[in-house]
Symmetry: D2
Subunit: 363 residues, 4 copies
Amino acid sequence: MADLYAPKPEHKFSFGLWTVGNRGRDPFGDVVRDPLPPVDAVALLAEVGAWGVNLHDNDLVPIDASPADRDRIVKEFKAACQQHGLVVPMATVNLFYDAVFRDGAFTANDAGVRTFALQKTKSAMDLGAELGAKIFVLWGGREGTETDACRRPDEAVKRLREAVNALCEYSIDRKYGFKFALEAKPNEPRGDIYMATTGAYLGFIPTLAHPELVGVNPEVAHEQMAGLNFVHAVAQAWEAGKLFHIDLNDQVPGRYDQDFRFGSANPKSAFFLVKFLEDVGYDGPRHFDAHAYRTEDYDGVRDFARGCMRTYLILRERARQWNADPDIQALVAGLGTQGRRGLGYERLDQLTMEVLLGVRGGG
Amino acid sequence: MADLYAPKPEHKFSFGLWTVGNRGRDPFGDVVRDPLPPVDAVALLAEVGAWGVNLHDNDLVPIDASPADRDRIVKEFKAACQQHGLVVPMATVNLFYDAVFRDGAFTANDAGVRTFALQKTKSAMDLGAELGAKIFVLWGGREGTETDACRRPDEAVKRLREAVNALCEYSIDRKYGFKFALEAKPNEPRGDIYMATTGAYLGFIPTLAHPELVGVNPEVAHEQMAGLNFVHAVAQAWEAGKLFHIDLNDQVPGRYDQDFRFGSANPKSAFFLVKFLEDVGYDGPRHFDAHAYRTEDYDGVRDFARGCMRTYLILRERARQWNADPDIQALVAGLGTQGRRGLGYERLDQLTMEVLLGVRGGG
Amino acid sequence: MADLYAPKPEHKFSFGLWTVGNRGRDPFGDVVRDPLPPVDAVALLAEVGAWGVNLHDNDLVPIDASPADRDRIVKEFKAACQQHGLVVPMATVNLFYDAVFRDGAFTANDAGVRTFALQKTKSAMDLGAELGAKIFVLWGGREGTETDACRRPDEAVKRLREAVNALCEYSIDRKYGFKFALEAKPNEPRGDIYMATTGAYLGFIPTLAHPELVGVNPEVAHEQMAGLNFVHAVAQAWEAGKLFHIDLNDQVPGRYDQDFRFGSANPKSAFFLVKFLEDVGYDGPRHFDAHAYRTEDYDGVRDFARGCMRTYLILRERARQWNADPDIQALVAGLGTQGRRGLGYERLDQLTMEVLLGVRGGG
Amino acid sequence: MADLYAPKPEHKFSFGLWTVGNRGRDPFGDVVRDPLPPVDAVALLAEVGAWGVNLHDNDLVPIDASPADRDRIVKEFKAACQQHGLVVPMATVNLFYDAVFRDGAFTANDAGVRTFALQKTKSAMDLGAELGAKIFVLWGGREGTETDACRRPDEAVKRLREAVNALCEYSIDRKYGFKFALEAKPNEPRGDIYMATTGAYLGFIPTLAHPELVGVNPEVAHEQMAGLNFVHAVAQAWEAGKLFHIDLNDQVPGRYDQDFRFGSANPKSAFFLVKFLEDVGYDGPRHFDAHAYRTEDYDGVRDFARGCMRTYLILRERARQWNADPDIQALVAGLGTQGRRGLGYERLDQLTMEVLLGVRGGG
């Protein structure tokens, strides 16, 4: 039984350095865990069975590192990845932590900030390319407002387009071959963030100069914060050929960004998500953008990371059972029947619950 | 295995006439199911294995029935209950459907409406007592506002107190022996409903003339609409000796009142609820205040009702497994250990998920 | 002062027949107002100063009307519009009320339902064209699920695309010249509705066969139900050239669909919306998709309709004051200053509040 | 006009040291403002016109200060208050920042943590008493869970009761004369916080050994996070004689804890709140528990603080206008009329909006 749920490289499970390295700071409390150096994070991820490790530029290289320091750090990190057999499938850029971005990065009113944000992102792309990443995620966490008096919101869209176009050009010029994955979020840390949902980015992409290079990186928590059905958003992205990456975690609707262990807030919606990804044959990374509770030490961080992957695999197995269940398949076969009065969805959903809860045929 | 999840009288599963009799009307659509006469509802509930049936006055007796009609209807209903072996553990009053209550019942600005609401409730108590009910639920669905310009909210509290005091007096005078269970809801059908949460009623009860007669009837959907943790509310009520009744269903946070099949929106929170009720030995009715999807005919209504009870019993079994799981119990035994750095809650929660999903020890 | 806020034709204020004709039915209560015949609704709208009247097919023509009845009804309605000087800028179709659509219309599993939905929509387009409408709104209120077990969500997207493509063809064939405006909503009456946000539709449109014919109809309440910033959604649509229509009302986030009088739930967000529409020169209809409280008779319905328009005009005047306020404009002029430490947004927002509340210059 | 909205001591406006001293750190970003020493905060508050300053123990005295340092710091702070004419109406304790409280304070599973939390609170009471505070606020920000597997929720209630009882005893023993004000919050920083609403605390208080010493401290943001009507909660507390303190700020429903400037998210609900407090004659502190946007320097912090008080006074003036408006008062006088069909609430609310927006009788 245990083997069934053990992570393997073909599952493409990845974690950000910032996830296992999260130190437990929150708006009302201080850090609770010591820093986890990147090379130790790589070792930890290898120990728990991950396939890939992702990073923001400053997760690895401090914002004020000298070029020599930068090169040494990168070299050590590559060595650690090689030693532990981890790949770097995705890279991204931190445009939210430093105070300079407090009013946004690509959409900031201060043109100097916008220029700096572009330069910083290009450097992060250089770093990602050097590490072998083929996906570059852009999360505009500070692109937003507390008061809409500060900027016309259509101006923000224009600035964002200009930035993404410039980054596409840079990737083309350097022959990096990046696919960009845009990550939406409705709010936090800004009162409202522009491009609040995955749908908003799907609408934005066709207006770009190189739409073929740009897709989305939907995150469970970010859609669920707004109470939206995550699998519907993922399905629209998939059907449009734009599901370039995915961020897995969990979140109770209508709250602060919780980044809980995958499947731990609502296993039913996680089930439908895993089922969709497996049914359509999504073959990109399964990236867990989550972190351990603040009650935990690094043993708990390992439990957290193992739990993310294990729950994914349990739900994948449940999805296979669902697809093989004769009672369910009989109902599914009749779904298109014309003129039916009662559609049998209560029964179908109850059988789904019973597959999920492991009371139909083994478990 | 099937037997394990078959409903029995000792489980005290009850349904309102309005639940299986719900015809599928909603704000944007018409009815989809024919009326279900109360005696047929009793037969349906007996068929699926329920123990009790609850009712609003007008679920059984039309608001404009003559006394003779009323007596005949009640007689037939009692006969049906007796024939099918169903009890009537709870009765309540409909103070929300008729247009007269459009601005509230006990808290309406129109004193004539307040008087009528009291009279109607007393008649509903007469009916409930005649049917053997010992619990009387009060849900003030129209006690609220769309604009707070219409009434001082403290005045509403006073009016509500006056009404509940009068109803307690009436129950004492008539020797009905009712326990009153007050049911909170934050909004819908009013913009805001007074006494928005179970907690608000727990604060209101000690200000009554007969607090010992009055407790609460928490409803899953009503707390979860506001994104609140339902088991915390139930636990506070239980600990205060005020858990007189409970309404089981399911609901995604931050939405319209969905009244979904128990456990179908989020089985994890349903699990903690069932575990709490079973652990503390709650022995009141397990009342399902939910209804079938609008896609269903009466076969689907049966599936819905069976699913509510079956999921409860599956989760009860999962709770027993949790209590018997040696790894979990080892963690639980160490919960109070002083000076621990890592608290092991990620592991504890992951094991809980795996019990829930049926991948630890049978299923 | 009164003149300043009196509605005029150039303001392009329109109401749906279903808005002033709403009878106050809700999930927990019966109708409270008598039916308002369409010709009387036209008279009422003219009386309060509206410019346009919109309709679903069945707001005017009962679903089971004979062709002769249909023609008579349409003729009388056109006469009433002409008599009262009202135009019909927009038409739409009701694909949600009848039980046949309980599992969706264009996305239903039953192919017969999908065919019927297309036919019904084409008839509604015929009606709209006959009445002179140039905008055709599509709101897929039943296109969704209570359980995602019933359909693959990407299949729903494909079905929806097929339907919209067919409707575009029909409009082209008949030379109707319609612009289609797609209206998103996250949930209610379905558990989850596909195409949950305006952004989702902006992403869907470029995948259509005739994207140039299709835009969006954002509704205040529908974005705010999900807690999203409405003006950001409108701005993205505008900037993409896709703001074909707009539905104005109000809504407290995270609740049932309230459809409150425009500006009555949160005047600050309404202010930023009006300011945006006026600043960019949006010249389409200002359509109020709202209804009077259930406490009201038809005098209250008139108050409601007058209030929608009056609040719009008050906020328009406040927007003009904002644009003319020297202190505010001094702050705005400095917004792009490079290298500033304190950005002055607290002051800017406070001045905005004071303009809104009428304590800066005139009022 | 300016004089009308200038803060005066009789308005009893107070701010926490942590509000103007907030440095702008958030979950995704670093501090943006230099530390503000408590004596400088006192000067700043005096400069903007505040009457009182409140504090957590560690806002003033570092958690690791020596007794000698503690006494020196307190002496300097008292001198600064005296010099600037500020009072200290309320004190509280920080039971959330330090890592020791990561699983709660009074409800932690570790008995050593519970003991330490009590000791720390008693020291904070000593400090508050020394500074002349008569109100002691308790906010149990860490009393909650991410997984309900970690503790029976009724056990948490018992532990909380034991702690509050002990603190009441301590206040009595020391003759401090404190009134305790319990502050509810639904979530953040914990996944779920026990005692999620003001109502929950109103239900808890009557179960205490000294209920007469204990009331509530409702906070706008904390109720509105859960989408609840704040003025209804305040009214219930007031009517029960339990409104011992109040925390004013603003918050969009269903989001992270925003702590925005009072009245800036929704001036309409702020209006009804101010109107209620003024109408009933609440004479406690008007405490602003909010902070400036992260875009601001200390000039912006001053703007923020001035804006909180100024908006309160503007809304107070609007409430007076409402009470004096003859059209509104005519409607109010008819509110109780029996047998009315249309209740006129649309008109009443529209007039309220127009008072609020300053378009009725001056502004």
